[in-house]
Amino acid sequence: MRKTATALLAAVSAGALALTGCAPAQPASDGPTTITFWHGYTEADGDVLEQIVDDFNASQEEVVVETEVKTWDVIDDTLLPALSAEEGPEIVAMPAERMPVYADKGAFVDLGELYADDENVAEIVPAAIDMVTADGTQFGVPTGFVPLSVFYNRTLFDAAGITEFPATWDEWVTVATQLTVDENGDGTPEQYGLALPDHATVANGLWPSLFYGGGGDLVADGEAVIDSPENVATLEYWSSAVATSKISPTGLDGIGADELFSSGKAAMHVGGPWMASISEASGIDYGIAAIPAGPAAQAASAIGVGMGITAQADDAQVEGAEAFFSYFFSEEVATEWSLGSGWPPLRGDIPASAVESNPVVASLTEIAETGRPLLPGVTASVDVLSAMDTATQKALAGDDPGTLLADAQAEIEAALAD
């Protein structure tokens, strides 16, 4: 009996999940309005952001922004419990595709008036604004918007005598085939032409980029459109390229693809700006190019980060946060942020020449126009991307793309209807 009780207690305790967190809100104090700002910028970009915040605090006396650095995952896991306990931030930055999920729960303040009235915010690149818009409402401002681009290993290109970066899919596959080397003929190349992940791709954007290039999309006007003939053709094209030419291993995820490129085992890789520093650290002489054009378009899914004002903020804090946003998007600060973060300028009126001191930013700025926001305003993004991943992974493993995309269509329709 005693054993039973003890073990049952153990089972109950072990089986329980604690969903908790509660603390009294702090009373507002006199003096300047204090605003807490959570973000996950931890590299050189973090230093620049801290500097921008310090400069903003020094530039006026009404508002003090205090930053709290947390990893993006921690922000995602703790934001809602913190807000419900009124212990959260007034400004929070997060990966843009997560923002509609929170906006849908009422966690963000509508910034429509700021967009209408503020001359700095009005200059933001329209595609980046779409990224932080849901149901016609702007609930945030972008802090980063960059299309995925191809990083290529110059040394391997030179060794193969390739001087021109491919401009179309057919050229891309041809070049990738040339760069694929199976020295011992065992069917497993020692060097791949391309690292083409088939699931959990970088910022979930590789396959959307390819679908756009083929003339398709995932969700359009709130409707699932993943099973379009264009997408079936795109998936058939790439799965057969991988199957017949072995240009890429299968079963790769985005991190695996990063590693394959940085270990010199893949000549090309579709990635984000951070691949520049990873490549340098790995001693790889790299170049950056736009994703080659598909039969219908040259387009790339954009990696985005945004920041919003949380529902926890009172009127004074909302006003202070909007003042900070306006400062953040002034021409000088936006340029400083672009150079420091390594991402293209967020204002459409800042030319590539203004950031040419950073060649990576300049290269990315030149291809910035190809960027499209990923699933803007789609609150069921988790389910949509999961359905897409299943289809792409199974297709590269040899299943029929048409059937797979039809299955994905049904899953996405169900997710959007929820």
Binding site: R2, A10, D77, L80, L83, S84, P249, A311, D389, Q393
Partner: protein, 316 residues
């Protein structure tokens, strides 16, 4: 040389069973004292286990996201648990994982404990430490290490096998092999803990029993079946239950190694809870799913209690 005076033999009173009948004022005073000592732990458990559990139970009947408005939805979340294909698949996956992990871990742990308990084994301490070591390694570190070892492109294991002319392939991305692989890594990681518990149990068995059996001509297998196993039944039940609970709550190692993939084939119930609660912000549904998992865990534990309780009675 003791100088204690021998008292006349007192009437023998068997020790009162725990939770036996309460008595007189002295008993209640000592109960109060016991409660006082227990208070810090009870307060902590109340605040961090009982209260969250009750809150989660309430949440499971709402559509709460943990923030802002919430409304009462009755049993809707519980109905969804048993109709949502993704959840049903996760339940199946968890069952498969528990089936693969629990018996394997228990049998491996028992076999190695028996080997280590052998009096003539040299370097027993060193072996015990070596076998216990994986359990001490941080779970995330172990999961990452195995992911790298098994990687088809840069993995050491594949590299060695290629040298021997073999191909392991991409086991973590193969829907048929991913689950057995993560279960095997979990066995490697955890058997040392169960083994130490078995060792403690084995050392509790009086040597005289074994010696008597040897005198009676029992061979090693007979000694194992008729002495070791019955005497270990409590330990065995305990290990089986904690291993099963660990299997039902599998999350972190699988999350690191496969993220639930490929195509959701290693997605477990706790992963589903995590994603519902913290990715899709459906805390109400996540709470309902947590309670379903709790019910399953309790049910399976009870079945084991009944089974082992019977066995214990039979033995006695």
């Amino acid at each position: 040389m003791s100088t204690t005076l021998h008292k006349p033999a007192a009437r023998y009173r068997p020790p009162a069973p725990l939770g036996g009948r309460g008595a007189g004022p002295r008993r209640s005073r000592s109960s109060l004292l016991a409660l006082l000592f227990l208070a810090p732990a009870l307060v902590l458990l109340g605040a961090f286990v009982a209260w969250p559990m009750l809150s989660a139970f309430r949440l499971s009947f709402t559509d709460s996201s943990g923030f802002g408005r919430e409304s009462w939805v009755g049993f809707e979340n519980y109905a969804t648990v048993f109709t949502d294909p993704a959840v049903l698949r996760a339940l199946g996956n968890t069952g498969l994982y528990a089936t693969l992990f629990t018996p394997t871990a228990v049998i491996v742990a028992l076999a190695l404990a028996l080997a280590l308990n052998h009096p003539r084994l040299p370097l027993r301490g060193a072996f015990r430490t070596a076998l216990f070591l994986p359990f001490v390694v941080s779970l995330a570190v172990a999961a990452f290490a195995w992911s790298y070892l098994l990687d088809p492109q840069i993995g050491l294991l594949n590299y060695w096998l290629r040298g021997a002319g073999l191909q392991l392939g991409n086991v973590l991305q193969d829907p048929a092999l991913a689950m057995p692989t993560v279960a095997l890594v979990a066995v490697w990681k955890n058997f040392g803990f169960y083994m130490v518990i078995f060792l403690a149990g084995l050392q509790e068995i009086p040597a005289s029993l074994r010696e008597a059996a040897v005198v009676d001509g029992a061979n090693a297998w007979q000694r194992f079946v008729h002495i070791t196993l019955p005497m270990l039944s409590n330990t065995f039940a305990f290990v089986l239950i904690i291993a099963l609970i660990a299997a039902l709550q599998a999350f972190d190692q699988i999350y690191v190694m496969t993220g639930g993939g490929p195509f959701g084939s290693t997605q477990t119930i706790v992963m589903e809870i995590y994603e519902s609660g913290f990715r899709e912000l459906e805390l109400g549904f996540a709470s309902a799913l947590s309670y379903v998992l709790l019910a399953i865990t309790l049910l399976l534990s009870l079945v084991q209690f009944v089974f082992f309780g019977r066995r214990e009675q039979d033995t006695q």
